[in-house]
């Protein structure tokens, strides 16, 4: 029975494989590889810090071709976490065939799912990415320590969320691809992205840990940090095969 199921699965798998796009994400801090707990980084304000946790949601993937036509991949929610290698390898399902020049996605979880009750899969509240006192998803989370922080144990703690106007933290990302991504029969293209955490603190809105070492509610600081990290991704490599 199990063998039969796996056979059926194998057939279905090869049937749809052509329409998958694989995506892997690598995390860096100001160009240096991210190493939880052990590595020390600094922001432009001169604060040194380390990172103990880095985790965020990605969703709503779509592609545009040179004519500007945009098509969506199958709806999916991905919880990406530095401490989990599998979570940094995403497989986008049901991608329509085409030659694409841009990739679009959302950092965060659609507004409607923030007030629709409990969800399963990556959106299960047991992953600690859902606020209990003020319902809604934490779109992105970064924790660590910095000698500049005046919080207990010199921690830095940024839980970015909020889905209700005026404090909305979902951000759409558009990445222009260095060469076209080809989705077609018998091909599973592979995209390598990099996310640079330095953008969280060194974007248009400067975060200085002596002044702001944590933010864990919907609000203006969260909105501005989301504006910053909207620019954290870049495309490193495309393999069409």
């Amino acid at each position: 029975m199990k063998r039969l199921l796996s056979l059926i699965f194998l057939f279905t798998y090869t049937g749809t494989a052509a329409q998958q796009v694989q995506l892997d994400i690598n995390h860096v801090v100001g160009g240096l590889p991210m190493q939880l707990k052990t590595a020390t980084y600094s922001n432009t304000a001169g604060d040194t810090f380390n990172i103990t946790l880095f985790r965020y949601y990605l969703s709503n993937f779509s592609f545009s071709d040179a004519t500007g036509k945009t098509v969506a991949a199958e709806k999916g929610y991905f919880l990406v976490s530095e401490d989990s290698i599998p979570s940094r390898k995403l497989v986008l399902q049901q991608c329509p065939k085409g030659r694409y020049t841009q990739l679009h996605f959302m950092i965060g979880v659609d507004s409607v799912l923030n007030f629709s009750g409990p969800q399963s899969g990556a959106l299960d509240p047991m992953y600690g990415m859902f606020w209990t006192w003020n319902s809604g998803y934490i779109m992105a989370k970064l924790e660590g320590n910095s000698p500049s922080s005046r919080l207990p144990n010199h921690m830095i703690q940024f839980h970015i969320g909020g889905y209700r106007a005026p404090h909305v933290t979902q951000r759409m990302v558009t990445l222009t691809l260095p060469e076209p991504l080809v989705v077609g029969q018998g091909k599973t293209p592979h995209l390598s992205l990099e996310a640079d955490v330095a953008t969280w603190f060194d974007g248009a809105y400067k975060v200085i840990f002596t002044q702001l070492a944590g933010f864990m509610a919907p609000g203006t600081a969260a909105d501005r940090i989301a504006d910053n990290y909207q620019h954290m991704f870049s495309v490193k490599k495309i393999v069409n095969q």
Binding site: M1, K2, L5, N114, F115, S116, G117, P118, Q119, S120, D124, P125, M126, F130, T132, W133, N134, S135, G136, H167, A217, P218, G219
Partner: protein
């Protein structure tokens, strides 16, 4: 002969395959359930709860009730939902100003009553929780209440034989997920309807049931002075307002402002339903009043009139002793004895 044996063997294999252990996996999503029809009086507005996403079943409600009364939902298996939400107090916490929790801890607000929840859009005294299904997440994980990690709880329930049976009956497989658990709790809570008070009988013109003169007087006062916020038939409009209750520095509870970061929401709290009010003392978000007459006095002459006080009560609500007495008699008609004694909601003893 050999051919016959082969046929028989094949038939046996087929039968074995069909009856095999994998069969559960195939039928997992088709549980045999008995759907449950909620009886809602015609005079009520349609519920805001969407039953399409969580249809009520006898098995789902039974699972929800088991979860509601199970102390295993707390970190040290000491406190169930029903510990604080007592049926005889309209599922509030009788005689307790502030909520109690595991390891002798105390919360900072009073336990709200539970009934007619399917008309409520947001929950908690500050409206911070936005869906009935997600509401139990807060008390379960709050360190001053049940103090439980959600993932650890799912593992704990998954390892329990009784829950294997209950989840299978409700959902077709033994798998415990947080979504299944929350939805079952909602199913049980959705059935907690309270529309069988004397007030309801009078409104429905049931033969032989009338208000006494005192109750009638109280009803008149109520409709004049209280009903715009405590709006019948639910006896709340579910809004968040500053009713003029003085701020207590020792509690430093800013109310709705904590959720919205908006100073216009300073000291705003949810208007509670007044159904079953006389059995569910103490009153206010911090349970500071143990007697309903203290509440009357507050509206009559004890308000603190800050910037955000609600326009409807900013001039106070004058209530003379006669009005207060009659109001008390009227509020007494909102106690639903059938509800607080309904065996379908009563505590079940869970020992495993």
């Amino acid at each position: 002969m050999t051919r016959k044996v082969i046929y028989l063997l094949c038939a046996f294999c087929l039968w074995y395959w069909l009856m095999g252990e994998d069969r559960d996996a195939l039928t997992a999503h088709a549980p045999v359930v008995e759907y449950y029809q909620l009886k809602i009086p015609d005079s009520l507005p349609p519920p805001v709860y969407n039953f399409k996403n969580n249809p009520l079943t006898k098995e789902g409600i039974a699972l929800g009730r088991h979860l509601f009364y199970d102390p295993k939902l707390s970190v040290d298996s000491s406190i169930s939902c029903g510990f604080c939400h007592q049926q005889f107090a309209g599922f509030g916490h009788y005689d307790h100003a502030l909520s109690h929790g595991v390891l002798g801890r105390t919360g900072n607000r009073s336990v709200p009553t539970l009934f007619n929840l399917i008309w409520q859009k947001d929950f908690m005294w500050d409206g911070g929780v936005n869906h009935l299904d997600i509401q139990p997440l807060t008390p379960i994980t709050d360190e001053n209440e049940m103090g439980m990690d959600l993932r650890a709880l799912i593992d704990r329930l998954q390892g329990n034989q009784t829950y294997k049976k209950l989840f299978k009956a409700a959902y077709g497989s033994e798998e415990v997920t947080s979504e299944r658990m929350f939805k079952a709790l909602s199913q049980f809570m959705a059935t907690m309807l309270s529309f069988e008070s004397k007030y309801d009988s009078v409104m429905r013109r049931e033969p032989g049931v009338t208000f006494t003169a005192e109750e009638q007087g109280g009803y008149r006062t109520f409709m004049q002075k209280c009903a715009s916020c405590h709006k019948p038939p639910l006896f709340t409009d579910y809004s968040l307002r500053n009713n003029g209750l003085p701020y207590l520095p020792s509690m430093n509870d800013v109310g709705r402002m904590r959720i919205t970061n908006n100073t216009a929401d300073y000291l705003k709290f949810k208007v509670p339903s007044l159904r079953n009010v006389l059995v569910s003392s103490p009153y206010m978000h911090d349970g500071r009043f143990f007697d309903i007459f203290q509440v009357f006095d507050m509206y009559d002459h004890g308000q603190e009139k800050g910037n955000t006080i609600d326009p409807l009560v900013k001039n106070g609500i004058p209530l003379n002793p006669k009005e207060q007495r009659q109001l008390y008699m009227f509020l007494n008609t909102l106690t639903d004895k059938k509800f607080i004694k309904n065996q379908d909601f009563s505590e079940i003893l869970i020992t495993d």
